[in-house]
Symmetry: C2
Subunit: 448 residues, 2 copies
């Protein structure tokens, strides 16, 4: 059985486990986040299961937390995503490959080149998760004393997007003649020099890479703040920010997609795939037991550190048994902070409760049997809460194997997920059109 709308599934792989204690789970690979053979194995398993994409987030610093917590974090050594994904591109053939790259501490010429190169090497499987840097310690690694202000980061991100996509359009798709007889390598009429000068960026161009196979790599975003939602509606083709409940997700889905027609975009050209931690068991009790076992492995030092990151203030001195003190608005990721403050207000949770909650992973999660989790996913899809999910694994390899071996077949049986890839590019998998080249109108009819 097949359906009109099917789920899209990404795999959120950096870190390989979002839960603080993933690397301590019995029988797991403690080094999985930094082991190329393991990551290759995971990418191949996910490709065999027909996942849309393998998604590597990024941070341009060791995460900012006290050393007591830091020394318990498996994220301190990780591959640069744009170095890892080309290697995985060479060892896979279909799965999409999404990397995070910050618009705050990068140059657009570098970003445009690297994603264009990855898209060519992977034959059209690249996606760019466009972020503004949310980790304040990143500023210190790039010559600054403090983080750029939230509004400035978003304004720069918007201009950065224009420059990168403009550089991708430097060459018409049929610019290259490569004709040994005449000695003409390209047609100069099919080369465009961007010559951009804006508020934040000045970039001449052209890019020294042919137009990407996909026209542009797929544009991915997380933004859930007001500024984040607006830039997503204007530019994103996949969004992975997660709402904690179906109701909140439905509101988010309607909000962001509702902004698109006024911006001249078809709402179908943005796929909303919330991140979701998935823990499976043969019975619901078994799944819950796995979760409890994992949560028990979170050290209190780690919980307080996660709380500090989420709040944007140092929580290590807070009274564990008191309610959360007043928190000033900070320059941290606003949506993440607001969500947690709202939860604290609603529930009257103590600092200890909150530390355990965020230490153990406080975001959207589905825990149950394959049928139960499939029910929830179907409910979210049909309820227009999402177009699919970016699945996060509780531990590896077991948690990933559970999804591939038990959940995916259940989704396929229900006609909720593909049994094979219909195309070869990430745009094909996601059902996204190939963008026309803005400088060469005759190119508008791509293979979309």
């Amino acid at each position: 059985m097949s359906r009109d709308r099917q789920l899209h599934l990404g795999a959120f792989m950096r870190p390989v486990g979002i839960h603080t204690a993933w690397w301590r789970y019995p029988g797991g690979y403690p080094d999985a986040n930094f082991n190329f053979e393991h990551l290759t194995h995971f990418a191949r398993r996910l490709e065999a299961a027909k996942f849309d994409a393998f998604f590597m987030a990024d941070h341009l610093a060791v995460m900012n937390m006290p050393v007591a917590a830091l020394r318990r974090s498996a994220t301190v050594t990780s591959f640069d995503p744009l170095t890892l994904l080309p290697a995985l591109a060479a060892l896979t053939s279909r799965i999409g490959l999404i990397a995070t790259a910050s618009t705050t501490y990068n140059e657009p010429y570098h970003v445009a080149r690297k994603f264009a190169s990855l898209d060519h090497i992977s034959k059209g499987r690249a996606g760019w998760n466009l972020v503004t840097s949310g980790n304040p310690d990143e500023a210190l690694n790039f010559g600054r004393d403090a983080h750029l202000d939230h509004a400035v980061r978003y304004a720069r991100a918007r201009e950065f997007y224009d420059v990168v996509t403009g550089l991708w359009d430097s060459w018409a798709d049929d610019a290259f003649l490569m004709d040994p007889e005449s000695g003409l390598f390209f047609d100069p009429d099919k080369l465009h020099v961007l010559d951009h000068t804006g508020e934040f960026l000045k970039v001449k161009g052209p890019l020294n890479v042919a137009r990407p196979v996909q026209g542009w790599p797929v544009i991915v975003q997380a933004g859930a703040s007001e500024a984040g939602k607006q830039i997503a509606a204007a530019t994103a083709e996949m969004v992975f920010g997660a709402s904690p409940t179906l109701e909140a997700a439905q509101a988010y889905y309607a909000d962001v997609k509702g902004r698109m027609p006024a911006l001249g975009r078809d709402p179908d050209h943005l796929k909303i795939l919330p991140g979701a931690l998935v823990i499976l068991g043969e019975t619901e009790a078994e799944a819950q037991a796995k979760r409890a076992r994992l949560d028990d492995l979170v050290h209190p030092d780690s919980g307080l550190a996660n709380l500090s990151v989420r709040l944007g203030v140092d929580a290590s001195g807070f009274d564990l048994d008191a309610p959360l003190p007043e928190i000033p608005e900070t320059n941290a990721s606003k949506s993440s902070q607001a969500q947690l403050l709202d939860y604290a207000r609603r529930t009257g949770a103590t600092v200890r409760d909150l530390a355990r909650k965020v230490g153990a992973y406080a975001g959207l999660h589905f825990v149950g049997t394959p049928a139960q989790v499939a029910d929830r996913m179907e409910e979210w899809l049909d309820g227009r809460g999402c177009d699919g999910f970016n699945v996060m694994f509780p531990f590896v390899p077991e948690g990933l194997d559970d999804v591939v071996d038990t959940l995916v077949p259940e989704l396929q049986r229900r006609g909720l997920f593909r049994r094979d890839y219909a195309g070869t590019t990430l745009r094909d998998h996601l059902g996204l059109p190939r963008p026309p080249n803005r400088f060469f109108a005759s190119q508008a009819t791509g293979r979309a």
Copy 2:
């Protein structure tokens, strides 16, 4: 037969042919510079031939030349080296992988991360060709109106090197415990925070990647100017700048290696591998005929453009049949300009002569039978003109196949080149020690 000193051989692969007309040669691959399957095939052939390294140069712009010449250039679309090499790392197991990265238009944190990641993914095969940007058009892609001054570029490069190597030393080799039982992922006593503040750069650290397999990726440089030679003597482990004659090469070799003891370095810890174009035939006449055929494919537009780049001034209006006019000292690569001006003065060549000469590739070249070329290489090695060569191919695949199938076996018969790899890392191939970690003295005894 084996010898005390053997040749080291790198393959200079971007562009895959250094000669302007390489892509027009009959029977060749016109798209080889931008075809991942071809590049993979070449890397594997070179690995089977036991080459030390596969070397990708880089430019952060389309080369600056008039469109009449540019449209004849095969370099306008090329992969970003640090995106290509991870993909090739996944498909090879022994050959070294060297990428150029500019210190002028990059951030040291990005450069340190990417090379550290490549070194881990390739299991110790990465090399960094540290350059200052020589192409004036690069400035325009990175927010500047004009190129940084030569002296400033070199001063920044020196500081950049200190920061990148300092970031590579962020973690002791045995920092990572990854102990699920205790929940300790690393030992905080084995983490060093660089906290660098210098004239050009401010970088906190630590790097979020474990210390590279090789300690540091191999440091490569080309510098032939006075500033370039001094920084090479202080920091380089491979140099590939080419002198046009054995006498000049001997002087260069003695000069750079002679500076090293005063800098506290063993001259054996720098390998000098000049770039050399190699054209082979079964007879000398056949090799010369290949060369003439290739030179005949250079269009005059390309010759004048190459001349402009070499001189750092626009030569397109020069009288073709007059001698070279007076050329002001420019901000271009000084050594390259000086060499050509010297040649023009010595020979009284016309502009047309010079355009043909540089269009057709004016640098070091060996043209002849395998035995003749092996003789020349042996002479250079034994005469202390070099420690080996970075071979440049006149066209592909034929020119590369000739080297692998006829020259390498000849060198092996003479005991001048290895028949198999003795180790697994690029440092192993080059006979270079593993650098001690400057912040963790107990690590000084690496596997060098």
